[in-house]
């Protein structure tokens, strides 16, 4: 349940950005949550809803988009979406796979109301 720690850190960033952009209110927060990020979108949602009370984002909605694991084979070039976490190329069997996405845990964008 380290999602609480992640959300606590998210709010630090939200407060900073709100000051920087002169926001009156934050209305939406968009995250990209890789399937291999180690964080669970539902738990991020619960933690966010707990944490947001009495903050500048008290009315904000969290949009946590799950990002699938995508790899590119460095031998045959095949780009594949992996749902089994097997790091072997589906086309040629090579183990030389480059991860394109699926490990990220990103604050993508913030919707805010400004003066």
């Amino acid at each position: 349940m380290h999602e609480v720690s992640i959300i606590a850190n998210l709010f630090k960033i939200l407060e900073e950005k709100a000051v920087e952009k002169n926001a009156v209110r934050i209305t939406g927060v968009h995250l990209k949550v890789g399937i291999l990020s180690g964080a669970v979108p539902e738990l991020l949602q619960t933690s966010f809803d707990m944490y947001k009370k009495d903050t500048i984002a008290s009315l904000a909605a969290l949009h946590a988009e799950t990002v699938p694991l995508r790899t590119e084979c460095e031998d045959c070039g095949a780009v594949t979406t992996k749902d089994d976490f097997v790091f072997l190329c589906d086309r040629c069997g090579s183990s030389r796979l480059k991860t394109l996405s699926g490990t990220e845990l990103l604050l993508e964008k913030i919707d805010m109301e400004v003066e």
């Binding site: 349940m1 380290h2 720690s5 992640i6 850190n9 998210l10 630090k12 960033i13 950005k17 952009k21 926001a23 009156v24 209305t27 995250l31 291999l36 990020s37 180690g38 964080a39 089994d84 976490f85 097997v86 790091f87 072997l88 183990s95 990220e104 845990l105 990103l106 604050l107 993508e108 964008k109 913030i110 919707d111 805010m112 109301e113 400004v114 003066e115």
Partner: protein, 223 residues
């Protein structure tokens, strides 16, 4: 009042990762190899460290950072082996983070060779936190079952080595070592594999040799 969309693209673990990178650079720069041990509770992290102390101590200096929710018990076991140990009690938190490790930095002797960080027993949350380690080591004990790698993909895909512990218990168990290793290998082809028993003191010498080899590489790089 107007609506505005602000593009950020910031890593939510970025502040942790930044501290971790600083820790790694400082430690390896001094010729110290930091190792993060992760596993379920009770899979034998402390017992493995006790045995590693016997194999490494004659020639090398090691120290241990112990992460637990409560108690000094693990640190006391390590100190009984003549190894400096510092306990971090997280008071409920399910993982260590780089900041907690960084706070202990002033205590780390400059002539150290190996710094082991025994994470809180948990195969889920610790996997998301870089502690500044050069080697991330996952332990899997035979009573836990050989089906664990795919259940904990973050831990097994980010590890550098997999240490199967309690191999002496295999005969009565349905644990198939080859099956566990094969599953982990598919998820992480560059994973290094070790099979150990702390009770019988088997396989610990091979693991110690691997760590010494990694230490020598760091020393050469920073010589």
């Amino acid at each position: 009042m107007k609506e505005k969309e602000v593009l950020v693209l910031e890593d939510l673990l970025g502040s942790n990762n930044k501290i971790a990178a600083e820790i790694r650079a400082k430690l390896t720069g001094r010729g110290i190899l930091p190792i993060n041990l992760m596993s379920s509770p009770g899979s034998g992290k402390t017992s493995l460290l006790e045995r590693l102390a016997e194999h490494l101590q004659p020639k090398y200096k090691m120290a241990v950072i112990e992460g637990d929710i409560e108690t000094e018990r693990d640190a006391e076991r390590i100190r009984a082996k003549g190894v400096p140990a510092w306990q971090i009690t997280t008071g409920g938190a399910c993982h260590l983070d780089a900041k907690m490790v960084g706070k202990l930095f002033p205590k780390i002797p400059p002539d150290l060779n190996f710094l082991f960080i025994e994470n809180v027993g948990n195969l889920v949350c610790p996997a998301s936190y870089d502690l500044g380690e050069s080697i991330r080591c996952v332990l899997l004990s035979t009573p836990e079952g050989d089906d664990k790698p795919k259940k904990y993909p973050k831990a097994f895909t980010t590890a550098d080595c997999l240490v199967i512990t309690k191999s002496d218990l295999v005969p009565p168990l349905p644990f198939n070592i080859e099956r566990a290793q094969q599953e982990a290998r598919e998820m992480n082809p560059s994973l290094q594999h070790f099979i150990t028993s702390a009770v019988l003191d088997t396989g610990i010498d091979t693991l110690a040799a691997y760590l010494i080899d990694r230490l020598e590489r760091i020393r050469r790089r920073h010589a």
